[in-house]
């Protein structure tokens, strides 16, 4: 079976742009990235589902000319799931804005703490070793 070049290019483009945005710290952009990637995935599923054809509706298109209905069902499911999750993520963005009056992904405090303490110990104090074991 042969691959549709247009789809391939599209996959590459959507994934690249999407990933680039997802790696941003602005929640809005992260979500936009997610949406682009999900479109990329859908195109990928479409691409593997063989050549274009008539709408898979009995009576409208003869069986042999129909486009593969199964991947379409999968994509439809994926679209709907993405819709749901995207709405939730937007709610998260809003909440994050309300609490911090910013919409960036922040680093985890406890991790930062462990790292800081690490730096401190290298400079400092035999006591921790003892407390560590006691």
């Amino acid at each position: 079976m042969s691959a549709n070049a247009v789809y391939l290019v599209l996959i590459a483009a959507l994934f690249s742009t999407g990933v680039y945005l997802v790696l941003d710290r602005s929640l809005t952009r992260v979500l936009l990235g997610v949406l682009l990637i999900s479109n990329g995935v859908n195109v990928l599923i479409l691409a593997v589902s063989g050549p274009a054809g008539g709408p898979p509706i009995v009576g409208v298109t003869p069986f042999e000319d129909m486009s593969d209905p199964l991947p379409q069902a999968l994509i439809l499911t994926a679209i709907v799931i993405t819709l749901g999750v995207a709405s939730f993520f937007l709610a998260l963005t809003y909440r994050s804005w309300v609490l911090d009056s910013r919409e960036d992904v922040l680093d985890d405090d406890e991790d930062v703490r462990v790292a800081t303490q690490q730096r401190l110990e290298d400079s400092d104090s035999d006591v921790y070793g003892q407390e560590g074991t006691g």
Binding site: V34, V41, V48, I81, L99, D111
Partner: protein, 564 residues
């Protein structure tokens, strides 16, 4: 009989969730619905376990469509084993949550949100274990993930929202790769039915197989938190409400592990990923355990051991021998129960002492003997002290490693015992500091006072910024200062709710139900040891079936045809 029971573990909680939503304004009724549903699920699971263990695997074609066309539900020994354990845990945690909810009212776990979502989560988990269709597995994952997003951010405090964002984005990425994997499978084999894939994949050129295989493994590896795909976990789980953390830590990663088991034993039957998995296993064990040693907050410490011990399971799967897989299976069961139990106990600790930071806790052994016992036993179990269940799983894995005898296998054995030691060291540290050290003794904290503040703050759960501003808690995050005054204005309406759901400073009472749940789960972990004979036998049989994929394939394709 089996075919009647098969769909119930999914249908019951789903319908239950629906009913719970309809009863939106009647908390009591909702609680009742959840309790009834999950009890029913547990009963079904046990029934399935007995039946399948006696009669062997069997399957059901949803909607009587021919095999491969429709979706198959499959109950083999592995799936029913997982199902039973997860049902036990979910029920236990539900009881705890109900107990907590009754005390806290809407604060910790808002009934009308928690119960429907929790039921849907259960449905998703059950479906992941029962489905025989790769795409349906994806949907099952999405269900439990979506539910987990909501549960994780319950109460919407600053810490939880931040954790939620990390968790959601990482999960989304993994799901996308899962979808890509599915597309590739469909492209190469033209089917989504896992039994058919198992047969057809053999005809796909090996190097293409490898590509597909790796994509799927990465997707599952993220969900199972295998190093280096694991960093998201310790940042997200510990911030949630106690019961939520408990069920996440116990269950969710194991669904990923389950998926990996299927991938390695059913979808791709040549153990071509052996090396990759062995290396990953070793790294996961050691790095995770070191992470645990470095922590000073019990919840986070446990989260790191969680990651670390996933390594054991991966090790067993990678070895691929019956002994190895059996060990992995037993360890999965053990770890689901032990992690959940421990997190529930830590929940009790937090309510009693008002913190889970080792810099704040102290003297619990003297002041709370029962609680101490309740912590010590599962903690030692996690540390692999025999004859508790953790040791049993490990012993089996070590034996498998030695039998294998390859250099990487020996490396795994070494990493295994090292991890066991580090884990024991970590939990003993918790015991020494939180339970033995007198509360009044000033902990030794490196560095200047400013850092001491930082440590204390990190120890206590950072209160909601809104709280910080409205009641002026000292522990406010640095950045709270920034838009604080403004934020205060914006969120005043939300504030009181927001801070109510933030973990409280200072002690809170714990209800009988919560104690009961924790006690119950701890005793179940002990039962694992007492009944180790039969359980190891089931695990062994399950592993034996897994090493012969045809068992599964026949169960689906043949019995499926009979129905179709």
């Amino acid at each position: 009989m089996v075919s009647v029971l098969l769909p119930l573990p999914v249908l019951i909680p789903l319908v239950g969730a629906g009913v719970a939503l309809v009863l939106g304004r009647r908390p009591k009724a909702q609680r009742l619905v959840s309790l009834v549903s999950l009890t029913a699920v547990l009963a079904t699971a046990v029934a399935l376990l007995v039946l399948v263990d006696r009669e062997g695997p069997s399957s059901l074609e949803v909607g009587r469509w021919p095999v491969g066309i429709g979706i198959s539900l499959v109950a083999d020994r592995l799936s029913v084993l997982m199902l039973t354990v997860s049902a036990t845990v979910t029920l236990g945690v539900l009881v705890y949550a109900v107990g907590e909810g009754i005390i806290d009212g809407a604060r910790g776990t808002p009934v009308s949100i928690f119960h429907p979502t929790y039921l849907v989560l259960t449905a998703g988990v059950s479906n992941a274990f029962l489905t025989g269709d790769l795409f349906n597995l994806y949907v099952g994952f999405e269900v439990l993930l979506a539910a987990s997003y909501v549960l994780l951010t319950l109460g919407g405090t600053a810490a939880r929202v931040r954790a939620g964002i990390t968790y959601v984005v990482v999960s989304l990425i993994s799901s996308f790769f899962f979808l890509v994997g599915i597309a590739l499978v469909y492209a190469t084999t033209g089917t989504l039915n896992m039994a058919q894939i198992s047969v057809r994949m053999a005809e796909v050129p090996l190097e293409v197989q490898t590509v597909v295989h790796l994509v799927l493994l990465i997707a599952f590896g993220i969900k199972a938190a295998i190093f280096p795909l694991s960093a998201w976990l310790p940042d997200s789980y510990p911030t949630a409400a106690a019961p939520v953390t408990a069920v996440f830590a116990g269950l969710l990663t194991k669904v990923g592990v389950y998926a990996i088991i299927r991938t390695e034993t059913l979808l791709f039957t040549d153990s071509s990923m052996r090396t990759v998995l062995l290396v990953a296993a070793v790294l996961t064990m050691v790095v995770g355990a070191l992470g645990a040693v470095a922590q000073s907050d019990i919840k986070r410490l446990l989260s790191f051991t969680l990651v670390s011990h996933i390594g054991y399971m991966v090790f067993g799967i990678a070895l691929g021998s019956q002994q190895g897989v059996a060990g992995a299976l037993f360890y999965v069961a053990h770890h689901i129960l032990i992690q959940t139990a421990l997190f529930l106990v830590v929940g009790l600790v937090e309510r009693r002492a008002g913190s889970t930071s080792l810099y704040r806790l102290g003297g619990l052994a003297a002041t709370a003997p029962l609680l101490s016992l309740l912590f010590f036993v599962p903690a030692m179990n996690l540390g692999g002290i025999p004859p508790l269940s953790g040791f049993i799983g490990k012993a089996s894995l070590l034996q498998a490693g030695v039998q294998d005898g390859g250099p990487l296998a020996w490396l795994g054995v070494g990493a295994g015992v090292l991890t066991s030691l580090l884990t024991l060291y970590a939990v003993a540290k918790v015991w020494n500091r939180a339970f033995w050290r007198p509360a009044d003794e000033k902990p030794v904290v490196p560095g200047d006072t400013d850092v001491v503040d930082r440590l204390d703050r990190a120890g206590a759960h950072e209160p909601d910024v809104a709280t910080a501003v409205t009641i002026g808690t000292p522990g406010a995050a640095d950045r709270a200062a920034a838009g604080a005054t403004i934020t205060a204005a914006v969120t005043t309406p939300v504030a009181d709710e927001g801070d109510a759901s933030a973990p409280q400073e200072g002690p809170q009472p714990a209800s009988r139900a919560m104690w009961g749940a924790a006690l119950g789960l701890v005793s179940v972990t002990l039962a694992l040891t007492v009944a180790a004979g039969p359980i190891t036998r089931v695990a062994a049989t399950a592993a034996e079936n897994l090493t012969r994929p045809e068992v599964y394939v026949v169960a689906v394709l043949v019995t499926g045809e009979e129905q179709g």
